[in-house]
């Protein structure tokens, strides 16, 4: 009976999604079918109450605010300033200015919650600059596609808020837990560039200008605003003076100040960022609404519990569960965006994960890592779409350039499995805000 219900619901889900029904609506539709057919509760009232409850919950308020902060920063000159501040330091490293992609994305990720926004903001600066200096386009675009995904792993992170709300894990702890894996992944990317540059010595153009240490130091003043912003947002969470939501409010106010100081704040940019953020939040909210209803419907039918019991009875070792889930998410990531992937699966998979005694904080970072991989797998990968729009290249070509980054992310997943302390150490040492 269970197998029949599952097959029917999954079939309905793929039919609705595949035929181009908007994702949030499709999720509600499947939930409705499930409840009408397999549960005695009235579907309509459950839908309204559940969606209202999830859409108005205090924990989620960090999400629209971080979205807004990203929209404000996207319309500032922050990325130009970061390039000016970083470039002089990187002239001597093998791979030279290619590292601006990685370090730029790492820094911007610490003020932005989204991978595609990170990719777009840094790319609009580094792509033309590196091209003008004669850097090969393939490695420039490949490294940018990979590094852009750090927007998800390095806090603040929209996907972590979504996970934290669905799994009932502290968002502040998730944010802090993402810091070390994020830096680890950035180092892997940079290491790859160094190795690549040493293997292909002729391909990197030689340094155009020599700068003294004093000049380098002076150029770094361009990095001050973003560093202050990071300190305010992440610092306030880490030392426990602010919750994730409060840090997000600091972030919005801080980005408005930064934008005003730079002179890029005016009526138009303010209004554009506000409307852009409202629409972007609304798009996510529709998916979250559908997912909340689907999760409650699944709960009534009892599918997640049965799945957990079934997988438990298979006597699968946790490592194989993680391997299976990684493959499952990579396949799913070829067709769905990250948020839909997380909300769609959490309601069903979490009981299984808990039954396998996997820590939910660790699992959250794991999920973010595999969702990052999904961002650069064709045919559906948001970073690929962004880069396609910016470079007018074929999506398959861009995806091919990003394959090394994809492999490095797989290495990172393996590393956090072998050394869970990479994730668990930092949050264990933070003070939690209220």
């Amino acid at each position: 009976m269970d197998a029949l219900i599952t097959t029917l619901l999954i079939g309905a889900l793929f039919a609705l999604l595949g035929s181009g029904v908007w994702i949030g609506i499709a999720l509600s539709g499947v939930a409705w079918i499930g409840m009408e057919l397999f549960s005695s509760r009235p579907a309509g009232d459950a839908m309204a109450v559940t969606i209202w409850g999830s859409a108005s919950s205090w924990t989620l308020t960090a999400l629209p605010l971080f979205v807004w902060m990203g929209e404000i920063l996207f319309r500032t000159r922050l990325s130009e300033d970061m390039f000016k501040g970083l470039a002089p330091w990187l002239e001597r490293v093998p791979g030279r200015l290619l590292h601006t992609n990685i370090i730029g994305c790492t820094i911007f990720a610490a003020v932005s919650g989204s991978s595609a926004a990170t990719c777009a903001t840094i790319g609009k600066m580094t792509l033309p600059e590196l091209k003008a200096r004669g850097y090969p386009e393939d490695i420039t675009i490949g490294t940018l596609a990979g590094a852009g995904t750090l927007g998800l792993l390095i806090p603040p992170s929209i996907i972590m808020i979504v996970y934290g709300v669905s799994a009932n894990v502290s968002i502040a702890e998730l944010f802090i837990a993402g810091v070390i894996p994020g830096i680890l992944l950035a180092s892997l990317f940079s290491g790859y560039i160094v190795v690549w540059a040493l293997l292909n010595p002729g391909k990197i153009p030689i340094a155009s200008e020599r700068t003294t240490f004093a000049q380098k130091f002076h150029a770094s003043r361009h990095l001050i605003p973003v560093v202050i912003l990071i300190a305010v947002v992440l610092g306030s969470i880490y030392v426990g003076v602010a919750t994730a939501t409060e840090a997000a409010a600091f972030g919005v106010v801080g980005s408005l100040c930064l934008s005003a100081v730079q002179g890029s704040l005016n009526r138009k940019t303010f209004f554009d960022s506000l409307m852009g953020a409202t629409r972007l939040y609304c798009m996510i909210a529709l998916i979250l609404s559908g997912a909340a209803f689907l999760t409650i419907a699944m709960g009534y039918i009892g599918l997640p519990r049965h799945l957990a019991e079934w997988i438990g009875s298979q006597g699968l070792a946790p490592v194989w569960l993680i391997v299976a889930l990684t493959l499952f998410y990579i396949v799913l990531g070829c067709f769905l965006d990250g948020i839909s992937m997380v909300v769609l699966t959490m309601g069903v998979i979490l009981p299984t994960v808990e039954a396998a005694h996997i820590d939910l904080l660790w699992f959250g970072i794991f999920v973010v890592l595999v969702v990052e991989m999904a961002q650069i797998t064709p045919p559906v990968g948001f970073n690929l779409f962004v880069l396609q729009g910016m470079t007018k290249r074929q999506i398959t070509w861009i995806a091919r350039q990003a394959i090394p980054m994809f492999l490095l992310m797989s290495v990172a997943v393996a590393m956090v499995w072998i050394w869970p302390q990479l994730i668990m150490w930092l949050p264990a040492h933070m003070k939690l805000g209220g």
Binding site: S28, W32, A55, S56, C282, L286
Partner: protein, 169 residues
């Protein structure tokens, strides 16, 4: 008629943006209250209501701008006639489900009013007031889907390229 409908979607969108500012204002009021030791009861709950209002009221506007995401893999690879059939199907499903969503949202708000349902938090808001934004937003979304469905039937639907939707997620 066309202009009136577009005004409706945009007005709801602008209202949503105001609630977005409201969300920020409520969170800041909560922080200020804690730091300066004055007590504003219920800012957490109000922030939640504002956020919900922002999300629901913007639904139709976001849809009209083509920013609600969907899987277009199949739609992009079929002929124009099949595409039209599939679009009608997707819009039909969306119209039906958004009608249910709107009806039960309105019903929830009405029931909260009828039963004098009060928030259990320390804001003690009568719940029908914030829930009304969900009812209004979903009704406007249903109108927008119906509108688009009729346009598609008459072959008058504009093909839209979501330009801003790209830097999301």
């Amino acid at each position: 008629m066309r202009a009136a409908l577009d005004r409706l979607y945009n007005a709801a969108g602008v209202l949503a943006a105001l609630f977005m500012i409201g969300t920020l204002a409520m969170v800041i009021a909560g922080i200020a209250g804690r730091l300066l030791h004055f007590n504003l009861p219920g800012t957490d709950a109000y922030a939640g209501y504002c956020m919900a209002a922002a999300g629901f009221l913007a639904l139709a506007h976001t849809f009209r701008r083509g920013e609600h995401i969907r899987v277009t893999l199949i739609l992009e690879h079929i002929g124009p006639r099949a595409q039209r059939v599939l679009e009608l199907w997707a819009l039909g499903v969306a119209t039906l489900l958004s009608a249910l969503f709107a009806y039960y949202s309105a019903r929830l708000s009405w029931q909260s009013w009828d039963f004098h349902d009060i928030s259990t938090g320390n804001d003690a808001t009568p719940l029908w007031i914030p829930q009304l934004t969900m009812a209004v937003g979903t009704v406007v979304l249903w109108i927008a889907f119906l509108d688009e469905f009729i346009l598609e039937c008459r072959g008058a639907r504009l093909a839209k390229v979501p330009d801003e939707a790209l830097h999301n997620e």
